[in-house]
Symmetry: C2
Subunit: 112 residues, 2 copies
Amino acid sequence: MTERDPTLMSGIPELVVLRLLAQREMYGYEIARTLRVLSADALSLGEGVLYPALHALEARGLLCSRPRQVAGRTRIYYQLTSRGRRRLERVAANWRGMSEGVERILGAGAHE
Amino acid sequence: MTERDPTLMSGIPELVVLRLLAQREMYGYEIARTLRVLSADALSLGEGVLYPALHALEARGLLCSRPRQVAGRTRIYYQLTSRGRRRLERVAANWRGMSEGVERILGAGAHE
DNA sequence: TTCTCATACCTTGTTGCGCGAGGTATAGTC
DNA sequence: GACTATACCTCGCGCAACAAGGTATGAGAA
């Protein structure tokens, strides 16, 4: 199955989740917290976004998970698969292209 | 009626259209062309995106339009209203926040 | 004890947006 | 007479983001 592109927009949850997990294994709640901290609240994925996203990503074979008991609580740790790593490169490149495009539009007209 | 935020994502068509029209009056086909050129094809809104977007923006009072006959063809020129101008500031600020957030995530981990 | 807060997971339903695929019409060129 | 560029439009699909809800544990305060 060929991986579809997010055509143009969005896919930010996918992008940032893949990016964080590219560094180290993390569990859902931790991802949410890290995202909030790193982005200074500019990016805060609600749990209604995050968890479904994680499940979808795993179903697509981009992540794999394993549960772990820590202090009586269940955490589900996710890590990137090799497919996930390749996917990250794609969506990151995509983001950059789009982002630069927008910046050019926003910056245009300086020569008025 | 209070203007809703695009919560987190997207709204790029709205953003770039408002931004272009902030500079000068333009018609739909011209907007599409300009977008393609300025962004070096990174941003190309299909007509199935652009025209509905223009209509929606006008319906929300952010644009106003006037038809003009040029060389036997009808062009519909759009320009920003003052509400549109205010809206542009909002969505542009929004974009920057979001964009910087993403960049921080993408750039994170350099200290590994 | 009970209350509340932080941790940690989850699902359901709605909505709106981006998009592809189509459709109309004129002007000019080959 | 066909083809391209200009110039507008609509319908309908799919999906992703979101809000709002739900479960359960552990720790500390009241």
